[in-house]
């Protein structure tokens, strides 16, 4: 859990009642309001990722309007997508300071602003600034909280929830493409972007739905029982294994800090109440109080964020996590390469007729949606570890990428594409794996780094593929090279058993308890 003030419920009164009060798991976890969070995340994916996919239409309009080179115009859309992902770590800072909800609402407003300002663009460079940067940052500010909130609200069904919410990408692509096309033909592209800005304001609605999670009593328990009970009781936090032990021990300190803080505030409150009733001094004191609260929040949030990146207990000391980041860098760049080359492969082997009936890219997209949900369900099963499912999906994907150049008929290509679509459903498992590695508390910062790595590779992937193609003039090599890079990334994942020194002991003790 994040230790930001807004996320903690104000119920610290029962210090003396240690142990006698039963653990009351928050009813909203894995049910209740959690499904609204899934809905909110689904809508976020539709609006943000869908708009990214639908930028092809706007790209054509910009080409016609501004008469710049294709490369320059294409940079607007890739910049927007890249920035959405790359600002991840900084959004972690926001989340630590203000909480998910405020970040999402501000992000929604920023995104809408970006779209509306782009409607008045006079050249492509203006578009870089308004659409690429502003709308990109806004999208990033909504995207990360959406994923993180789902991770917080679900313990047992995490993978399924993530899978369900990320299917919004696929639906969004269809929906937003149709919508943008209609708006462009009806009103022209400038008005279309103007209206799309209003539609992006719905991201604020999604943000409003992200109710902060109040961990009431179970937190207290963690505070009291510090040592051996820690792991057993904290099972209400996460059904899976907690790999980062250090994080839990950090929590109680934070709680006590907050307790003191709260007491201080209450004392102040009483003091203020007891003093002079003159409105002016009360008003002034209230302002002072708010300001002091704000600075405390900001300072604390910054401290948390900073400590998770640079401190001794930083995320980077977690070696498995570092391996995971490196994998993320390699995986994404290799993933986009097949998509770029598929149309040309179709032309090369003259499969246009069959492709027109059922395009290969649609096969990938449709199977991808199913893959996400199914892989989510599978990895939620208590007997199967998410990590293993993740690894298997990765292996399947890299095998498919490496064998794709060898396929020359439509049927074999379709089969390979279906496999690619299905195994790339592991995207829904990434937040789950991240959460398993670093714990719920640091999920925002950790996942921020992951999507930053994704963003970097998404930005570098297409040009890299084009560069390989320019050098070799054959599609095969780009596939082989990207497959190789992917293998390198997977190898980093595979060394996890070797670099995990302390964990195996902890794991066995935990299993013994359970």
């Amino acid at each position: 859990m994040y230790a930001s003030r807004e996320d903690i419920g104000y119920d610290f009164g029962d210090d003396s009642k240690a142990g006698s009060k039963p653990i009351k798991p928050n009813p909203n976890i894995d049910g209740g309001w959690a499904w609204m969070i899934v809905l909110s995340s689904f809508l976020v994916h539709i609006l943000i990722m869908g708009s990214q996919m639908a930028l092809g239409i706007l790209n054509m309009e910009w080409l016609e309007e501004f008469n710049q080179s294709r490369g320059l115009t294409a940079w607007v859309s890739s910049l927007s997508m890249g920035i959405t992902l790359i600002v991840g770590p900084f959004i972690g800072l926001f989340i630590s300071m203000c909480g998910c909800r405020k970040t999402a609402i501000i992000g929604g407003i920023l995104n809408a602003l970006g779209w509306i300002l782009s409607a008045y663009a006079s050249n492509v460079h203006y578009l870089f600034l308004t659409f690429g940067v502003t709308a990109g940052v806004g999208s990033g500010m909504v995207y990360l909280p959406a994923v993180v909130m789902v991770g917080q609200y679900f313990q047992k069904r995490r993978a399924l929830a993530q899978g369900l919410s990320t299917t919004g990408t696929g639906f969004g692509a269809f929906l937003m493409t149709a919508l943008l096309k209609y708006l462009c033909t009806e009103f022209g592209w400038r008005n279309a972007m103007f209206i799309q800005g209003a539609i992006s304001l719905n991201l604020c609605v999604c943000g409003a739905l992200m109710r902060p999670l109040f961990h009431v009593v179970s937190e207290k328990h963690v505070v009291r029982s510090n040592s051996e009970d820690n792991q057993a009781k904290a099972l209400s936090h996460s059904a899976e294994t907690i790999k980062s032990n250090g994080i839990i021990s950090e929590e109680p300190e934070k709680k006590e800090e907050e307790t003191n803080e709260e007491v201080l505030d209450s004392v102040q409150h009483i003091e203020i109440g007891g003093k002079s009733r003159s409105g002016r001094s009360m008003y002034g004191l209230r302002i002072l109080k708010t300001v002091s609260q704000l600075t405390v929040t900001v300072r604390k949030g910054f401290a948390i964020w900073y400590s998770s990146y640079f401190g001794a207990a930083s995320l980077f000391t977690n070696r498995v996590f570092v391996a995971f980041i490196i994998w993320a860098l390699f995986a994404y760049s290799s993933f986009v390469i097949p998509f770029i080359h598929l149309p040309e492969i179709v032309k090369q082997y003259n499969l246009s007729n069959q492709n027109n009936i059922f395009p290969l890219t649609s096969i990938i997209a449709i199977v991808h949606i199913f893959g996400k949900v199914i892989l989510g369900i599978i990895s939620d099963l208590p007997c199967i570890s998410t990590w293993n499912v993740f690894l298997m999906a990765n292996f399947t994907l890299v095998t498919c990428i490496l064998t794709l150049p060898l396929m020359q008929t439509y049927v074999t290509l379709a089969v390979v594409c279906a496999l690619i679509g299905f195994s790339s459903g592991y995207f829904s498992l990434m937040p789950v794996v991240t959460e398993d590695l670093v714990g719920t508390k640091h999920l925002a910062n950790a996942y921020g780094i992951i999507i930053c790595a994704n963003g970097i590779s998404a930005l570098l992937g297409p040009p890299f593929a084009g560069w390989i193609y320019d050098m070799t003039h054959k599609y095969d090599f780009s596939f082989y090279i990207s497959g190789l890079l992917y293998m390198v990334g997977i190898i980093f994942l595979l060394i996890q058993p070797c670099i995990q020194k302390k964990q195996p002991r902890e794991k066995s003790s935990e299993e013994a308890q359970v």
Partner: protein, 482 residues
Amino acid sequence: MSVRRLAAGADPSNNRRVTRKEWSSQQNPVFFFKAQSEKLARAAPSLAFALSVDLGLQQPALPQSLPGPLETSLSSRCPRAVRGRAGPAACAAAGERQWERGGGWGTMPAAFSGKRPGRLLRLLLLCLSLSLSGGSPADAAMTTEDTSQSQANFLTKMQAGLNESSAEPMITTGTVNWQTQGSPSDHLAHGHDVSTPGPDPTTQELKQATKENMSNHTFVKYEVILPGVSNTSIEENITLDSATRIELSCRLDHKYSHLKNFQVTWKRGNETIRHINKTENSWSIQLGILDNSNLGSYSCTLKGEEEISAMFHLQVPKIEGKEKPIVTYEGDTAVMVCKSFGYTPIAWTWYVTNGSEQIAINDSLLADKYVINRVSANVTHLKILKLTKEDDGVYWCEAAFELGKSKGKLKLKVLSFMVPLKPFLAIVAEAIILVTIVFLYEIYSKRKEKCAEDEKEFDQVEQLKSEETNGLENSSTRHRKI
């Protein structure tokens, strides 16, 4: 079957003997290409070249050896049927065969991976460069047929109506010589069987044009090679913008010369035209196109056991408008642009559609509303000032050529400021309402929870109180509420 425009132009400034040595020394295709295009650019406008390049060779070669943009212009060079059905492999295969027949070149590998630079690549790239630098027919060389018999270069044209061209290298041993042999028809008959392999016997279209200077008019020749099979219809669009003398001929491929006992008729509509039997296998008509009435469709029909026919469509150049409407606002100014590609019209006229009729726009009459500007010879602008709702609709730009007129369509959409604003405000309002609802619901449910919790705590306190009946002080109550 194929269409050939017989080329008989010989520009002396461009006669060259290209030796094998010279070719093989230029190994790098890209540099060769650049050099050639530079040479072409420097050459006189009356360029007369004709290349016959194997169409099939180009398709697989280009993606590998040349940058992207050229690909699109050249993918059209692959024979239509081959392209459509069998793909690049068939093109290459066709190429193989063609080279074999052409003699002296040997077998070309189907995957022309650029491993054999030299002659073939040079040929390829020469053709490329020509096609790209090809200009309007007015630029073409005018030489007589007689002069074409001497050492000549053949002309390749890229015109609006012509989308495929090919030429034939005359390869003699030792040196590469661009030469005609005898009459153009002989030349065409020589070893250029571009029939495609296997199931596609038809539609590799080749054109070569002959242009002659005869008094004030240009003289153009078009030839179509008829297939032996009757199920395909061959049509050819020929674009003319000024008065020309034209000769259309149908030739039966010598492969099918076994067909006997047939009758050839040339027709325009229902009216039969007298034709000349140029050679044993070709029949042609000569026409003088002087005005619009002479344009139309001419057909030649071979009636034997089967009926084979080909159609020539003589047209004025087409003007393209815009399919997407131009979106403007009330009170704004709109500029509509019409372009003619390749041909210069004599005059431009703009029409506005009022109901069902088209009214010419007179900009001298309504000078404060319409401004017509002929920016350059081929481009015209119509500027409409102070737009109102009535200006919304369809506009036509008409280009007048010597032989007729052609129109382009443009659509104008005039919106008021409120039109896009209304959905915008509606959606913003909806977002705000939803946010308010969500927050209100949350406050409401929190209050309910708090009430329920208070009740529970109250009950628990009662319980504890009843438990500790011995008067033990219950300190919990004091700590409970903050």
